[in-house]
């Protein structure tokens, strides 16, 4: 039968969430305007560009780098990035000897103020299971092959400390401005499953 079908039937989950929200609003337990603002904050204001600024500043400013490694929370707060799921930060420095990778095997703990909300793969079973038992295999899935003699440290965020990887500055980036350097810092490089881009490449070129 033809007719207006502007509103297709809602999925079970969609209906359930609408029901829950309407009940919570009715009971005076949540403010709808607050809900919209919470969403907007993480959709538009908080994301990996924050962490990229921290990394780029550490690459350019040796004194900042020292402060960042000594007291990450205070140094990150200098740039205005603070808050929920980033109250207690530690920065992990990648070197020619050591590569760091971060996971939360038990749930999805992630440093929101500097990286935003985590991607689905970070929260999903395959990464959570294998990051701790097969880090080289995981890196290979992300297209990263490290030298055989590189030490790999995988940090399982089992408590409220949140980790940010400080990747190595790419070769050939000496003449770039801090803003241009920030463009090279990918989210994945700050989790430790990727490396920063090389100068001259854009995110679109990265495989």
């Amino acid at each position: 039968m033809s007719g207006q079908h502007d509103d297709p039937p809602l999925s079970e989950l969609d209906l359930r969430v609408r029901a829950l929200e309407s009940l919570l609003v009715e009971k005076g337990l949540v403010d709808p305007a607050a809900l919209d603002l919470l969403i907007d904050t993480y959709e538009t204001k908080v994301g990996p560009k924050n962490g990229a600024k921290v990394v780029a500043k550490a690459w350019c400013d040796p004194a900042y780098r020292t402060r960042l490694l000594a007291d990450a929370g205070a140094a990150i707060a200098e740039l205005g990035f603070t808050g929920r799921q980033g109250e207690d930060m530690v920065v992990l420095e990648n070197t020619d000897e050591v590569h760091n990778m971060v996971v939360c095997t038990l749930c999805s703990c992630y440093p929101w103020p500097v990286l935003g909300l985590p991607p689905v793969w970070y929260k999903s079973a395959p990464y959570r299971a294998r990051a701790v038992s097969d880090p080289r295999g995981v890196l290979a899935e992300f297209g990263v092959a490290l030298p055989a003699d590189r030490e790999i440290r995988v940090w399982d965020s089992t408590a409220e400390v949140r980790y940010l990887v400080l990747p190595q500055r790419p070769a050939g980036s000496e003449d770039l401005s801090e803003a241009d350097l920030a463009e090279l810092v990918t989210r994945d490089s700050m989790i430790g499953v990727g490396l920063p881009l090389n100068p001259g490449k854009t995110a679109a070129d990265a495989s």
Binding site: V30, A33, R84, Q85, V90, L106, R153, W155
Partner: protein, 124 residues
């Protein structure tokens, strides 16, 4: 408890909610010390993963004093205690399948840890 209003959102998010506790409790363990994780299997909430139970590790860092999740989740109190970053070799965790030059560092509460005797071999 009042609802979260829109005008409070920014402050609440940027303040966050650290579970660090400002209590000067003496730590039981120190950086560089060998420890053995307990083999506990509580029905309730714990943040000691199964793969890291009954394993020998090395304390890398004392993060300070935090709320203990196991008691906090059960509603039995904050039970504040030191939290340590403890390093395990891949061989210690996974046996022959663990590769050399690979380590897993797990953030573990003092209640999850036991001292290792002076005569015990350190983690491989």
């Amino acid at each position: 408890m009042p609802l979260l209003r829109a005008d409070q959102v920014e402050a609440v998010l940027s303040r966050g909610h650290s579970t660090r506790v400002a209590l000067d409790i003496p730590p039981r363990f120190r950086s560089g010390q060998a420890v053995l994780t307990k083999n506990i299997n509580p029905q309730g909430h714990t943040r000691l993963p199964r793969y890291a139970r009954g394993r020998k590790g090395l304390v890398l860092r004392d993060h300070g004093v935090f709320v203990f999740p196991d008691s906090s989740a059960a509603g039995t109190g904050d039970c504040p205690q030191h939290l340590y970053a403890v390093r395990f070799s891949a061989a210690e965790l996974w046996g022959p399948e663990g590769e050399p030059g690979q380590y897993v560092i797990v953030d573990l509460f003092e209640d999850y840890l036991l001292p290792v005797g002076a005569g015990a071999t350190s983690a491989k």
